[in-house]
């Protein structure tokens, strides 16, 4: 226990001193048990302030230090480092937050001063029982896992491999490329999406450091930063990509036709098929669910015609266990379900499409080979309506958030439409145009001015079919008039939502989700690519709506974080972890059940903490009826003393 505690009370210029009588705080604290040094100072975080900490420790032989100042999120590290320089363990230094939690939120000087004394006093009582801990060293596995093979995952994997790290890239579908592979052109440059993406896909397939596992999913994760153990399940590989010669004989004989998800359901495909010509791995694949029967084989025609002998119906799923040091989650987005937009005729009328379907219509690799034709009758639409914020920015009925990219892709769609159908008319219903980004505003302006797209500010209330036309009822709030357009096609700029399975992967990886279901970053400003779990990073639209350049930037940022992490010889883990008081433990295992990190096990009938897994949350403390477990430096004794200190008259 600390018996020579020092206290510094920071003025923070006037930030604290204007409300809190810092001299009085120092005077009162000086009277407390074990406080041997107590002073106030104008700016503790300044260089002389830190120097004063170092000097005070040395001159007064302090074994504990409290700085009453701003929030510990700001300068805890500063003062712990200063303490170390003074020869005192950083863990023997605590911050009393008398600025954010006191001087800034109270006006009455007496009340604020009284509260500042209590806060400081509690910190003194706590620090007096802090242990001088050493960080826990952990070895590192220099290999990373990337979950999701869209542009985010691809970029991360390439950057990591480039830095000399081995990468496992796991993709649920049979090709990498994700949603970007479905796009025709990209805003604002209108370059061909597949043309800029496919070189990266090929680079993935050719990179010896990247192990690509398509049709695979992460089943479970255990371990901790630097040392995760992942179980990955790969579906049965009925077509061997090494042997497949892409001759297409198999699909010619396949009797099955099902909607082609890679073409957003606009065309059909066979049970054995290749998603795209550019697919990586470059191989046909067999859709188990659509196939007439594999066990026992019902049809077997494809196997008969395959000269390469690439098809083997007896293949089974395989499960890998891999060790990795870091994980990047890049599971991407889905468009908000069309079925939820009944008022816009979605799902009812064949010519009401979502944005990705429209991309497929525009794409040369799509069903219409790049001609914009109505799915219902293959006629060229002469009047087309684009509806923005379809499902976005509607907290009552749909998604509360702005999906960020729809303004831009709608402008792109309208432009592309005009390029394909110069005599057609495009209308865009919008709430606002959000075109922040390099060249973005200019692009939108061009669509209006050069391509004559008519922008109507207002919401659409209803879309219904009448006389072979889609009647779009809306309002133009700028002119204050109701608008009715007889359209041939309606395109809904559906909101972006986290891809299906995001919640499951978050649970598997034990990372948090925000209220909206996107993966939660550790700090909205300062840690935008870190998840709340150390060693797990986020990239792309799984973390929130974003466009391609932003996704690529975040992917590279995540990669650089991983590179920095895995470049260390060993990792340091916070030592404020749970500690079992052996004689008190009865082995009831309530803590084992309560621990979210599986960090506690029973050894010899008593709870034992894996200090490396433990994050110090204290769930174990909260459930232990025997008080047989504590988190170091926030022990129950310390909390008890803090309660006493705060309430002592």
């Amino acid at each position: 226990m600390s018996k020579r505690t020092g206290v510094f009370v920071c003025h923070c210029g006037k930030n604290i001193a204007a409300t809190v009588d810092v001299k009085k705080v120092a005077r009162e604290l000086a009277k407390d048990d074990g406080v041997v040094f107590c002073e106030d100072y104008v700016y503790m975080c300044s260089d002389p302030g830190q120097g004063a900490v170092i000097d005070a420790i040395k001159e007064n032989d302090l074994d504990g230090m409290v700085i009453s100042c701003c929030s510990p999120t700001l300068h805890e590290k500063t003062f712990r480092d200063a303490s170390e320089l003074g020869g005192l363990s950083g863990f023997r230094c605590e911050i009393a937050n008398i600025r954010e939690q006191c001087s800034w939120v109270h006006k009455d000087p007496d009340e604020a001063t009284d509260k500042a004394i209590k806060i400081s006093r509690a910190a003194v009582r706590r620090v007096q029982r802090n242990e001088p801990l050493d960080p826990i060293g952990v070895p590192v596995t220099r290999r990373a896992l990337v979950v999701g093979g869209g542009i985010a995952g691809i970029q991360t994997a390439l950057d990591l491999a480039d830095a000399g790290l081995d990468v496992i890239l796991v993709e649920k579908q049979s090709t990498i490329g994700g949603n970007m592979l479905k796009l025709s052109e990209t805003f604002p440059t209108l370059d061909c999406s597949q043309c800029i993406l496919s070189p990266k896909m090929v680079a993935v397939s050719k990179n010896p450091r990247i192990r690509l596992l398509t049709e695979s999913e992460v089943e479970s994760v255990s371990g901790f930063v630097g040392n995760f153990r992942v179980r990955i399940k790969k579906k049965a590989q009925y077509v061997d990509p090494e042997l497949c010669k892409l001759c297409d004989d198999c699909s010619q004989v396949c009797p099955v036709a099902v909607p082609n998800e890679y073409d957003e359901g606009l065309t059909n495909r066979r049970a054995i098929f290749i998603p795209f010509a550019q697919a990586i791995p470059a191989s046909f694949t067999l859709d188990e669910a659509a196939c007439l029967g594999l066990k026992p084989v019902v049809c077997g025609k494809c196997e008969e015609v395959c000269e390469a002998g690439a098809i083997d119906f007896d293949k089974r799923p395989t499960v890998f266990e891999e060790e990795v040091g870091a994980i990047v989650v890049a599971t991407g987005y889905d468009l908000y379900g069309m079925d939820k937009l009944g008022e816009y005729g979605a799902g009812r009328y064949a010519d009401v499409l979502d944005g990705l379907q429209f991309e497929r219509l525009c794409s040369a690799s799509g069903a219409t080979e790049g001609h914009i034709l109505r799915p219902s009758d293959h006629k060229v639409p002469k009047e087309i309506v684009f509806i923005q914020c379809s499902g976005s920015r509607d907290p009552e009925n749909h998604c509360a958030w702005c999906s960020k990219i729809c303004c831009m892709y709608t402008a792109k769609h309208a432009t592309l439409y005009k390029h394909h159908v110069p005599d057609g008319q495009a209308y865009v219903f919008y709430i606002d145009i959000r075109s922040g980004g390099k060249g973005y505003e200019e692009f939108v302006q061009r669509s209006m001015e050069k391509d004559g797209v008519i922008y109507l500010r207002g919401r659409v209330s209803r879309v219904y079919e009448q006389g072979g036309k889609l009647r779009v009822l809306g309002v133009d709030t700028l002119s204050g008039r109701n608008v009715e357009i007889a359209a041939d096609m309606v395109v809904l700029a559906q909101a972006m939502e986290p891809s299906k399975g995001t919640a499951e992967i978050a649970k598997t990886l034990k990372i948090g989700l925000g209220k909206d279901g996107f993966l939660a970053e550790a700090h909205p400003k300062l840690k935008p690519v870190e998840s709340v779990t150390a060693g797990i990073y986020l990239a792309g639209a799984a973390q929130g709506p974003k466009d391609i350049p932003e996704t690529v930037a975040q992917a590279s940022a995540a990669a650089s974080k991983v590179i920095a992490l895995l470049s260390k010889e060993e990792l340091h883990h916070s030592p404020t972890v749970a500690k079992v008081r052996d004689p008190y433990c009865t082995g009831c295992a309530m803590c084992v059940d309560a621990c979210p990190y599986e960090a506690i096990g029973l050894v010899g009938g008593k709870a034992a903490v894996n200090e490396v897994l433990c994050q110090g949350c204290g769930s174990c403390v909260g459930v232990c009826v025997r008080a047989a477990i504590d988190v170091k430096n926030v022990s129950q004794l310390q909390i008890h003393e803090m309660i006493s200190a705060v309430l002592a008259a």
């Binding site: 954010e100 939690q101 204290g618 909260g622 006493s644 705060v646």
Partner: protein, 150 residues
Amino acid sequence: MPNSSQSPAPEAQAHEPRVVAFLCKWCSSAGSDLAGVSRIQYSANATPITIPCTGSMSPLYVLSAFNKGADGVLVSGCHPGDCHYMEGNYLARRKLYLVKQLLQFVGLEAERFRMSWVSAAEGAKFAEVIDEFVGDLRPLGPQTRLKAKH
């Protein structure tokens, strides 16, 4: 007889409630920081004690605070689903629901124990929670029921 909640003694009217606020480090403590950064003014009656997670709340912290004379005890953590440690707030919710039920059962004034979810982004809500709590406590006067009488 202890003070009745219906008719506080005259001196009780002037009593300034003393509140211990257990704040989880990641959400509610950060939320209180945001209230500070935003300069949102609120009552100074609550003294914060930061804990790693509401899941680490021992029921004894609550009982002990009342024993030592707290007029009110607040436990504030992350919204369900937002726990930095994934599950701690769910464990806390179940446990502290029972604590609250028990305290009410023996007749501690129901208003004296409160729980809230305040995220790191909810500085304004933090201030509201404290002000409302202190406002509700003020008419009750001093907490005499569980307080140690020395």
